[in-house]
């Protein structure tokens, strides 16, 4: 069944609907791929039975002549940050190891309602904090790509590293991701797939393990722009259970998809051309400009003056919110409890949190606690939120001159596992191009552009106006149509 697992989400859905193959055959094909891919460590909890049950339900509906959903017969991977009823939801942490929700996240429920099935819960950086998938309690995910002539294990990006590796390795046709400061786009770029983070509030956060609530946003990851559009359409929509959910209709993004950019203006932010930039990243960016010009767009130079402050502001805002959100892990209500012999409540809290959180999570909680503490709040947190206002104003001014922005997704191609693990700041800098859009709540996507001279994928990023996912997807499609990106990682796992 190897050929079914090479199909796109859309081809699977249409093939099932047309009777070319059954949903069960598709699910079986992917279940077999996952069972043979332990070396990638992409999944924390495979759920082959969930995929088969969903497939059987779709096959039965089709046999009965009933209407099929937008994702009928498509088995997907679910980042293990989404609560799934009856299936362990760990956030890749020891703290939530064994946590089995009695409820379903809104986004995952919408996907099941659209006819999708779940192949398993995907590995990630612990509590979505990381850019290399090295902070997971369940071990590193390994990028299916290798540098030419090297056997070194590369990072799949993070935090949605299980999602990116699984989609790139054809273990699933599509997967959910979440993006707080680049956690969909950076792993997509590192593995040669597409991924979109919609406008903040498009997808409900209800049932997603919280990291930084003013930034967290779910999105779709797949191999084509169209697949991302179809899947995002099923995930998005107003949810009364999330107070920041946007109460607006979800457009038919996939139906309106068009790579014709005639009359559109594409902004090139001069501040994204950083000192010492990788020459191949720069060349790929130039190539992207030519592709969009070819699609009918006009290229205009823009300025986003506060770009360099987005990352430092992010590393105040995100840890501050994390320190507050993660206060809930106290050994009382759910998750781990560590109660040293003869100790009281306060000791239990401290021991539980010491044992349950990994180093990066502790680091961020402490930074967050510090910047929110008395005497430092205004200097750090308030100043960061003011800078955030300025970053948003920069984008507002830029979008008076252009419709979308084109930039690289990452400053480099995938790096080796272990390369940056001992230097938190070097790791943070990997998200320098991704974070500004997150800070402004804007839709943004990464599209595979080319392979570099080492044979590793590079991504290009499109950033759009708030609520204009269509503009982002259309520009993404224009890139995809010209990139002719067909590279597949050579199987070694």
């Amino acid at each position: 069944m190897a050929e079914l697992t090479n199909l796109t989400l859309k081809a699977i859905r249409d093939g099932v609907a047309g009777g070319d193959f059954t949903a069960r055959e598709v699910a079986q094909g992917f279940n077999a791929q996952i069972a043979a891919a332990d070396k990638l460590n992409a999944f924390i909890t495979p759920t082959p039975d969930h995929a088969l049950a969903a497939a059987d339900a779709v096959d039965a509906k089709r046999a009965a002549g009933e209407e099929l959903g937008a994702l009928a017969g498509v088995p997907i991977g679910m980042k293990d940050l989404f609560a799934t009823n009856g299936v362990q939801t760990s956030a890749a942490s020891h703290m939530l190891e064994g946590f089995t929700p009695h409820y379903e996240s809104t986004v995952s429920q919408k996907l099941w309602d659209a006819g999708a099935g779940m192949l398993g819960k995907l590995n990630l950086d612990q509590f979505a904090m990381g850019s290399s998938n090295e902070t997971s309690h369940f071990g590193n995910v390994v990028n299916p790509w290798k540098s030419a002539g090297s056997n070194e294990a590369l990072a799949p990006g993070g935090s949605s590293g299980g999602s990116s590796a699984a989609v790139a390795a054809r273990l699933c046709p599509a997967a959910t991701g979440t993006d707080t400061g680049g956690s969909i786009r950076q792993p997509a770029a590192f593995t040669g797939i597409a991924g979109i983070k919609p406008t903040y509030g498009r997808c409900s956060r209800w049932g997603i393990v919280a990291f930084a609530s003013s930034l967290d946003q779910a999105g779709s990851m797949a191999r084509t722009v169209e697949d991302c559009a179809i899947m995002l359409g099923a995930m998005a929509g107003f949810d009364p259970k999330d107070s920041t959910s946007i109460d607006a209709p979800v457009p038919d993004w996939a139906g309106a998809l068009s790579g014709d950019l005639t009359g559109k203006k594409v902004g090139i932010p001069k501040e994204y051309r950083v000192d010492g930039m990788d020459a191949e990243i720069d060349a790929s960016w130039e190539e992207g400009k030519a592709w969009l010009r070819d699609a009918g767009a006009k290229i205009v130079d823009i300025s986003l003056p506060h770009t360099k402050y987005a990352l430092p502001a992010y590393y105040i805002v995100a840890p501050a919110e994390a320190s507050s959100n993660l206060a809930r892990y106290d050994g009382v209500r759910y998750g781990l409890r560590d109660l040293p012999e003869g100790s009281g409540l306060q000791d239990m809290y401290a021991a539980t949190r010491a044992a349950g959180f990994g180093d990066e999570v502790k680091r961020r909680i402490l930074i967050g606690t510090y910047v929110l503490s008395a005497g430092y709040y205004d200097a750090y947190y308030t100043q960061a939120m003011k800078v955030r206002t300025l970053i948003q104003r920069d984008f507002d001014a830029a979008f008076a001159q252009c419709d979308v922005i084109l930039a690289p997704t990452t400053p480099t191609a995938a790096f080796a596992l272990g390369d940056k693990a001992d230097d938190p700041l070097a790791m943070y800098l990997n998200d320098v191009f991704a974070v500004p859009a997150s800070m402004a709540g804007l839709p943004a996507m990464s599209v595979p552009a080319r392979l570099n001279s080492a044979g590793l994928p590079l991504g290009l990023q499109i950033i759009g106006k708030a609520m204009d996912e269509q503009g982002v997807l259309n520009a993404g499609l224009a890139l995809e149509e010209r990139a002719n990106y067909v590279a597949v990682p050579k199987r070694w796992w």
């Binding site: 089995t100 107070s243 209500r333 759910y334 409540l345 680091r363 402490l366």
Partner: protein, 100 residues
């Protein structure tokens, strides 16, 4: 601004995370490197800038002030809520004794 070993120990205690001496050895320099990085925000003139409160402007929704006004967000889920508790007794979360 840089933090001392005592500062980090104090913050860890506020955050209720037990730290031993070797944890502090690695954390203090990392903490100072991160603070050094974020301190460049001090360069930005924000004299007349309001701090962001909502990234996408929205009015907070209110529901009727009655029990279970919206069944989607309503209560009556005690057993589900307690199902993942490390220790639950008599329909409550159980914790170590806090009063002697």
């Amino acid at each position: 601004m840089s933090v001392t070993r005592e500062d980090v120990a104090k913050i860890a205690s506020l955050a209720r995370i037990k730290m031993d001496e070797s944890d502090l050895d690695t954390l203090v320099p990392e903490f100072n490197a991160i603070l050094g990085f974020v301190e460049q925000l001090g360069e930005v003139d924000t004299a007349d800038v309001e701090p962001m409160t909502a990234v996408i402007p929205q009015a907070l929704r209110l529901r009727d002030d009655v029990v279970d006004a919206d069944p989607l967000t309503g209560g009556g889920k005690r057993d589900d809520v307690l199902a993942n508790a490390p220790v639950a007794e008599h329909g409550f979360f159980a914790v170590p004794k806090v009063i002697e």
